[in-house]
């Protein structure tokens, strides 16, 4: 139950030069096809194992939504096949088929029937749906008086009222208020723990990295790459930067992780190290220990303005802290080829125990979108361990001063 198997999937739309061309093709089939095919998706093959969560990413027009439509069965593939086991729920567009003149409750019945539930099943699920949507008395008002957020709450509550074997979600979660976003995301997580297979399309890095086991990157209608979410996310970010005419390199680190490097290459990181108070390069750091991040940049071509930035990320690629010399108002000007610049960033490692990585970026302004000289993910990997402090949870070291008054 819950398996998705996509084989050699392709989708092409037929483009007819004129309106009459289709008619000619239908009526005079012996004259051959009058259309040309526009391929939206080509040669997509992947498997999703039961209980696995897979994120689908790609820029607009990469074919994500088309792929979801093919998988959920609303659109038919031109080539290849999709095979699925178990009950499927697809949240492609929430609130579809809601009728404004009927009450929320009546629309719940309608939407439920549309996804194949019977009236009795919906009646049984109604208390859950009511509780989850949390719109109170509005449920018995016509939907036309709802705000879009309220409609979306009801729609989500119905669509996920019963745990499916496969859940397909298309960016639907970006609507609604933060509270409900969290709530709906929590429901997805909960279903996942219970064994639901998840296929999620999102531009939200955090969503992909915190829920998915694997990510698939679509580019120009083809499956560009699949792998660990943080790797794919790094590659994706680099790919966006690459559209600014820079190069993109992938290399395997000693620890087996894929490192993504991109940029035009006028300046590169020649050396990077994390040093302790004694000045020794370390890979293991104690919580709260004073350290210095040392980055040496080699300049290969004249640069009018140079900014160095770094970002500390956790195991899942979530940013912990990032800054750059533009934000710190220390940009350098007029660098010449052959020069070397060494930066030292001193700080206390106020992070919780865990594995972290540092990404570096050499740019000209605050972001890497104008001039990206070099962007290097996983430039350095280090581990924080808790050697001297009492155990604490989380990835930030926010040690409190505690005062207790007992009377």
């Amino acid at each position: 139950m819950g398996k998705i198997s996509v084989r050699q999937l392709g989708k092409a739309y037929k483009l007819y030069p004129t309106r009459g061309a289709r008619l000619r093709e239908w009526l005079l089939p012996f004259r051959g096809p009058q259309h040309r095919l526009k391929w939206i998706l080509q040669d997509i093959s992947f498997e999703v194992a039961p209980g696995e969560a897979v994120g689908l990413i790609g820029i607009n027009g990469a074919g994500k939504s088309t792929l979801l439509k093919l998988i959920s069965g609303t659109s038919q593939p031109s080539t290849g096949s999709v095979y699925m086991e178990g009950k499927v729920a697809a949240l492609l567009e929430l609130g579809m088929g809601f009728h404004p003149d009927f009450t929320g409750r009546q629309n719940v019945y309608m939407a439920g029937q549309l996804i194949g539930l019977s009236v009795d099943e919906i009646t049984a699920l109604m208390p859950d749906i009511e509780a989850f949507a949390e719109i109170g008395d509005y449920l018995d008002q016509p939907v036309r008086v709802y705000s879009s957020g309220m409609q979306m709450r009801v729609a989500f509550a119905v669509a996920t009222a019963r745990r499916p074997d496969i859940l397909i979600v298309d960016e639907a979660l970006s609507v609604g208020d933060t509270y409900f976003q969290h709530k709906s995301f929590e429901r997805i997580r909960q279903y996942r723990r219970l064994g639901t297979t998840l296929l999620l399309v999102s531009h939200d890095k955090q969503a992909i990295q915190s829920v998915c086991d694997r990510a698939i990157l679509l580019d120009g209608g083809r499956l560009a790459r699949q792998g660990k979410p943080e790797e794919i996310m790094d590659y994706y970010n680099a790919m966006i930067a690459e559209r600014e005419n820079s190069t993109l390199r992938l290399s395997q680190r000693d620890d087996g992780k894929l490192q993504v490097t991109s940029g035009t290459g006028e300046a590169t990181v020649a050396h990077i190290a994390l040093r302790n108070a004694a000045g020794d390069a370390v890979e293991v750091v104690d919580v709260g220990e004073a350290v210095t991040l040392e980055v040496t940049v080699a300049v290969h071509a004249p640069i009018p303005r140079m900014v160095l930035g770094y970002m500390i990320k956790d195991r899942l690629g979530q940013p912990m802290y990032g800054t750059n010399t533009h934000l710190k108002e220390l940009p350098l000007a007029d660098l010449q080829a052959g020069q070397q610049v060494t930066y030292r960033f001193g700080f206390a490692m106020n992070l919780g125990a865990g594995s972290y990585s540092i990404a570096t970026a050499i740019v000209s302004t605050a972001t890497h979108l104008v001039n990206n000289y070099e962007w290097r993910d996983l430039a350095l990997v280090f581990t924080v361990v808790n050697m001297r402090r009492p155990h604490f949870e989380g990835s930030a070291w926010l040690d409190p001063h505690i005062e207790i008054n007992r009377s």
Binding site: Y13, K14, R19, R22, L23, K69, S72, G73, T74, S75, Q76, V88, A90, L92, E93, M96, G97, H99, D101, F102, Q106, Y109, M110, Q113, L114, I115, G116, L117, S118, V119
Partner: protein, 266 residues
């Protein structure tokens, strides 16, 4: 014609089909005060207008009929059943376009849509025709046992309508001219069918052309049953029956072959 998978899908979604019929009926009159009465009022108004104009003003009487209600019954027999035919075909030709959002976003058995159209039309027809039957009983014009022969004729007419509707519905997605054309076509068709006037007033050469109109035989069957209390001439209905089967087969063929392409086009 219909595959087992289609029927099974339809059965699984029976709740959706019945719910849609109910909702469509309710939504039509939701914000009205007279509610379902409007279903009756508009055909009633039409019958009144035709009766007044044709039977009173133009003094046209059915040849050989002297009863006070004769023409009204003749008119109702044709207009009410033609209304069913017109409703099914016009709704069916737009059903895919109207439901394009649903078709694009939600995966459900598409065959539900024509079924919903037919059931909706039958519901509206049932109400108005039920009232008409009550009128026949009250006014003592009820034709008797021959009344049940309406059922096979109705079945034939519904098949003819939905077969044509499916063909138009699929074609209309790809060639929107079809819908516009049919709206004009059906007006001519109405007046080329002996509904308002009896076929006998037509000159002989024109009357021969009625054989080419499958709806003429169907409507004349209703008129035979309801006005004269006679069983229809079944052999006259044969071309219409063949056409109905042919259209249903063509409709299903087009529907199955083009269902996928249709979603891309919406």
């Amino acid at each position: 014609m219909m595959s087992v998978a289609m029927l099974r899908g339809l059965w699984r979604y029976r709740g959706f089909v019945l719910g849609s019929v109910q909702r469509e009926f309710q939504s039509k009159y939701r914000n009205t005060m007279l509610g379902a009465a409007w279903t009756v009022l508009s055909p009633l108004a039409m019958i009144l207008v035709y009766t007044l104009i044709f039977s009173q003003v133009m003094k046209s009487r059915l040849p050989g009929d002297t009863s006070e209600y004769g023409y009204s019954i003749y008119l109702c027999a044709g207009i009410l059943t033609w209304g069913l035919f017109a409703e099914i075909t016009s709704r069916a030709q737009n059903m895919f376009l109207e439901q394009s959002n649903l078709l694009k976003k939600i995966s459900f058995p598409r065959i539900c849509l024509p079924v919903i159209v037919v059931l909706n039309a039958l519901l509206n027809f049932g109400i108005i025709f039920g009232l008409f039957t009550v009128f026949l009983l009250v006014s003592g014009q009820f034709p008797g046992a021959v009344f049940v022969l309406l059922l096979p004729v109705l079945l034939l007419q519904v098949l003819l309508a939905i077969g044509l509707g499916m063909v138009l519905g699929v074609l209309n997605v790809f060639f929107r001219d079809v819908g516009q054309f049919y709206q004009i076509f059906i007006q001519f068709w109405f007046w080329l069918t002996p509904i308002v006037y009896p076929a006998s007033i037509l000159p002989a050469p024109v009357r021969g052309m009625l054989d080419w109109n499958p709806m003429a035989a169907v409507i004349q069957s209703y008129q035979a049953i309801l006005v004269s209390g006679q069983a229809p001439h079944w052999q006259h209905l044969l071309p219409a029956a063949l056409l109905a089967l042919l259209l249903c087969a063509l409709g299903m063929h087009l529907f199955r072959r083009r269902a996928g392409e249709m979603v891309d086009e919406l």
